[in-house]
Amino acid sequence: MNIPGWRSPRKLIVFESDDWGTVRSNSLTALQKLSEKGYPVFDGAYCKYDALECNDDLEQLFEVLHSVKDKNGNPAVITANNIVANPDFEKIKAADYQQYYFEPFIDTLKKYPAHDRVFDLYQQGITTGVFWPQYHGREHVNISRWLKALQNKKPYMLNAFEYGMFSLHVPMTPHYYNAYMDALDCDSEADLVSTIKIVSDGLAMFEKIWGFPSRSFIAPCYIWHQQHEQALSAMGVNYIQGLPIQHQPIISEGTKYHKKYHFTGTSNFKGQRYLVRNAFFEPTPYPNVDWVDNCLYRIQTAFRWGKPAIVSTHRVNFIGYLYPENREKNLHQFKLLLQAIVKKWPDVAFVSSDELGDLITGRECLRQTIRQ
């Protein structure tokens, strides 16, 4: 996957981290209660460890990002792909699950107990150059399927709902691998139309929340349609993050997809450039891998072909809200990785996803402008 596509002699590294802002598991109490109801919630890494980021999560991650400097004297930066809203569980319940309501994620933060400084910390992270939000979607739930499940009184969905959750561990829905997380998957033309509106509304919310537009986008569960790209392009999204394979919903067939293949720097019919992940640091979902070694090897391979290294590392790896040891163990590994990177490649530059896109297309870099 490193051979075709855009090349540069510069050693560029991007850390792309999805899911920031979305709710996942609500609390240890919620997991305990759901476990007592028979749901194997502790068996899945995302269900057990992932939660809305708390004050400590950001503070400790920033500290690690600041611990290294690239050739320009900049710290490592995480492109925090942001879900800008969450379901408003109370209102949805009051409407007997017939109507969907949502709230900006900054309102959700107020409902959580260790999250009062999260938004301020984000601002601090942007100013000091360690954190950079980009757009991941309005919410991380497939609204149409989720509401249908609630209306049909599916017990496990109602039980999760009671604890402010919309997805449990994947094996509970063996016939639905993405377990309601695939926000842009479509079962009908009507779904396509409504998800286009949702994804556009969310992008506008992003700018309202952060004060700047997102020039890149990453779809929940790597599932999106060409028409989503078109709508986002009209609103200024120039870059599409992702894996080498895009899953484009085959409308009306539900969870069936056309596979589309992309390489970094190639562009679509709207001239949007694809940014393709070619390295990974995912210790929580896959604990039996030496991630420092694995990631260094993949970065080296990327550099050998004159490619930027785009490292995928989901939020779950840095979350200690439920289990502090998850965050601590992985931050230790992540720090080792960063140190090894600057030692091995002293001429490395840490950039954000949209910054990489700007370098490819020769546009002015928004992140640097805002920091100044």
């Binding site: 476990s35 007592e36 109801k37 028979g38 749901y39 194997p40 017990p155 496990y156 561990h169 094996p171 509970m172 829905t173 063996p174 016939h175 691998y177 969870t255």
Partner: protein, 376 residues
């Protein structure tokens, strides 16, 4: 003629719907391991002479606790049969983890039910604990995989009721540490009497299964050193109420999608699920679509019958899952019983391999994992 057409339709019907695979997979599911039945030939003779109709079905005729020799002969055979990946044939031994503690129950004058774990049962038998050691070696060598079949193969309440009632045959059997399990309307009106561990006729009894499942799965883990991923109830009789307790304790798969559900009055009704169906807890179901029970009838063409089962299973993209109880593999009452089965097992597997060279051997747990990975 009509019967033949009907059988043909049924054979297709149970295989058509649900999850599919292109792989040709053979799973042998064998229930009852670890459970006592009749302890020895001597005792069997005594009970028969006393007028108990032990020849009325193949379980009371041949079934007994597996011995070291039973296991060794079986493992040697399994080890000699390799699939296209070089893996040995493996039997999924659905095991009970306990048996009644006859001495303690007698001491309580039939007021309190107590059980002993199977390692203690093995120790009481002629080969001693070495039978259990042999079983563990077989697990280590991937020739056998125990899965959870229940705590014991009786319903303790119903069995104690029968003993307290003082039925002559049941008391005689008890004195000889035997579980008769013969249908006798005078002692139990339930379907398959007290051997259906999870049948019930009142809600309190239904609730008592929670601790039986929890204790059973805990003992399973302690005895074998791993948790059971799949489950099949004694006699296939269970209500869906068990699912929550099974799920809480790590069970992800149900072996028998053809379920006999207690009607709450001691009877049952059948409930069918398809290959790959799942329930509230995401537990997956599959079906047994073949039968290999040579002990049932020594003169029946089991080889031809299993090949026929395979034809339908593989035609519709389903693994071949054989129902093959422990009774077929034991020689404690009659050594010929075991020898007959092993002779036929070699023939069956070799014929299957001739016809389907890419046949693969799997345990139930592996089948479940494979289904979970490929289902959508």
């Amino acid at each position: 003629m009509i019967e033949a057409v009907k059988n043909e339709l049924i054979a297709n019907y149970v295989n058509i719907r649900g999850w599919k695979t292109k792989r040709k997979i053979l799973v042998i599911e064998s229930d009852d391991w670890g459970a006592i039945k009749t302890p020895s030939r001597q005792i069997w003779d005594i009970l028969l002479k006393a007028g108990i109709s032990l020849e009325s079905n193949y379980f009371s005729q041949y079934d007994c606790l597996e011995s070291k020799k039973d296991l060794e002969d079986l493992f040697n055979l399994l080890n000699s049969l390799k699939d296209k990946n070089g893996k040995s044939l493996i039997i999924t031994a659905n095991a009970l983890v306990a048996n009644p503690d006859f001495a303690a129950i007698k001491e309580s004058e039939f007021t309190t039910y107590k059980y002993e774990l199977i390692n203690d049962t093995y120790s009481r038998y002629p080969d001693g604990i070495s039978t259990f050691e042999t079983l563990k070696q077989g697990i280590h060598d991937h020739l056998v995989l125990p899965q959870f079949h229940g705590r014991e193969h009786i319903n303790p309440r119903e069995w104690m009721k029968v003993l307290k009632a003082g039925d002559r045959n049941e008391i005689l059997a008890f004195e000889h540490k035997t579980i008769l399990g013969l249908d006798n309307p005078a002692v139990s009106t339930r379907y398959l009497n007290y051997t259906s561990a999870f049948n019930y006729d009142n809600l309190e009894e239904a609730k008592s299964f929670e601790s039986i499942i929890e204790e059973g799965l805990l003992h399973f883990k302690n005895l074998f050193g791993f948790a059971s991923k799949s489950f099949v109830a004694p006699c296939g009789i269970r209500s869906d109420d068990l699912d929550i307790w099974l799920s809480k304790n790590g069970v992800r798969y149900h072996q028998v999608a053809r379920q006999f559900v207690p009607d709450g009055r001691g009877g049952i009704y059948a409930k069918n699920r398809w290959w790959g169906a799942s329930n509230e807890f995401g537990q997956l179901y599959w079906r047994r679509n073949g039968t290999f029970e040579p002990s049932r009838n020594w003169n029946f063409d089991w080889v031809g019958s299993v090949l026929n089962n395979a034809k339908y299973a593989f035609r519709w993209g389903k693994p071949l899952v054989l129902n093959s109880h422990r009774v077929n593999y034991v020689g404690g009452i009659n050594p010929q019983n075991r020898e007959n089965t092993l002779r036929l097992l070699i023939q069956v597997v070799k014929k299957l391999q001739q016809q389907y060279p890419d046949l693969e051997f799997m345990s139930s747990s592996q089948l479940g994992d494979y289904m979970a990975d490929t289902i959508s």
